[in-house]
């Protein structure tokens, strides 16, 4: 299952106003480490259904959001809760390390 593709125009609705926490992956097609975590995030979509929304922002086509959150390195993953950033993960990592970072933020 694919993460939700979020854009500059849908970010408010999909992430800020989301009732469940959201993990947002800032990525781009030219980024090697981004490709490594993509399959992990796809695996996580069904596993975290109802607990955590998993979303992706392509920084190439959505500069407004990437700039707003000061993204200067990809992959960067931000965890949003009630519209606010509560955690930041920089760089690709195996699934277990990623889930350990994310799990404490679940409702």
């Amino acid at each position: 299952m694919k993460p939700v593709n979020v854009t500059d125009s849908t970010f408010e609705q999909e992430v800020i106003k989301s009732s469940e926490p959201v993990l947002v992956d800032f990525w781009a097609a030219w980024c090697g480490p981004c490709k490594m975590i993509a399959p992990i995030l796809e695996e996580m979509v069904p596993e975290y259904a109802g607990k955590l929304k998993i979303a992706k922002v392509d920084v190439d086509s959505n500069p407004v959001i990437a700039t707003k959150y000061g993204i200067r390195s990809i992959p960067t993953l931000l965890v949003f809760k009630n519209g606010v950033v509560v955690d930041q993960i920089v760089g690709a990592m195996p699934k277990k390390m990623l889930t350990e970072k994310v799990n404490p933020h679940l409702n």
């Binding site: 090697g32 920084v59 195996p94």
Partner: protein, 317 residues
Amino acid sequence: MKTIDVGIIGGGPAGYTAAIYSSRANLNTVQFLGVQPGGQITLTNDLENFPGFPDGIGGLELAENFEKQATKFGTVTVYDKIDKVDFSKRPFYLKTTVGEEYLAESVIISTGSSSRMLGVPGETESIGKGVSTCATCDAFFYRDKHVVVVGGGDSALDESLFLTRFVKKLTLIHRRDKFRGSPILQNRVLSNDKIEVVWNSVVEEVLHNESGVYAARIKNVENESSHDLKTDGIFVFIGHIPNTELFTGILNLDDHGYILTDRSGHTNIPGVFAAGDVQDSIYRQAITAAGSGCVAALEAYKFLEHVKSSSEVPLSV
């Protein structure tokens, strides 16, 4: 617990080449790719000196080709780190971070090396917020901005040249009065209008606020004077440290932490081999890593044949 012939720890050119040779020799081969599958080449935009690609090849593309070639011959790749080993008896025990356990008749270690960081105040908390070790990944965010690059070897020079395609200006900070990098790169750097070189200097602090890095505190090592240079980002290319934490106290390492091997990749434990940057502090090229991965796999094959036919462990060399 899975029993395998060859466990390869590491996912760079050395590991993939070992995997290609090992699985093509019909050995049951599992390769643990670690945190950064493809290894350091995935951080390189273009490899201009890897033989067979006269127009250069992207690091990521080369890594994907390696993986295709290894899995074609039957290598099973696992995207996880090994976080525990027991080399005290054969077969050797390996455990991944998610708790998968393996018993391997032989092991090839190709965990490579990681970027050395500056180790100055403000650096760690600014990773991803202005401090970077990957120009290919992050140059995009510095279009028409100013960046500082620290270093003076081939990587620093090469990555600086790549960054000039994006940035408005780049200040290259080097602690000596001349570069270590190759003459061809030195010439390209010194003749590039966007690059200003500051010699005999180091970054002694990363200045940052809520939105990330805003300046670098630069110290001249000759007269000890310091000044703050306003910048949007700091790229660090000051060398590498071998990824051998897991093997400290188990394998013989040199003073800098590199695994000691003979020229055929044998470590001090028969059946455990090492290949690539984790045992090479000198050449550290994709092609030399690949070459040593091939050697280690051929030696592992020989070792396993010998064990099978004599049921005795050959003496270490």
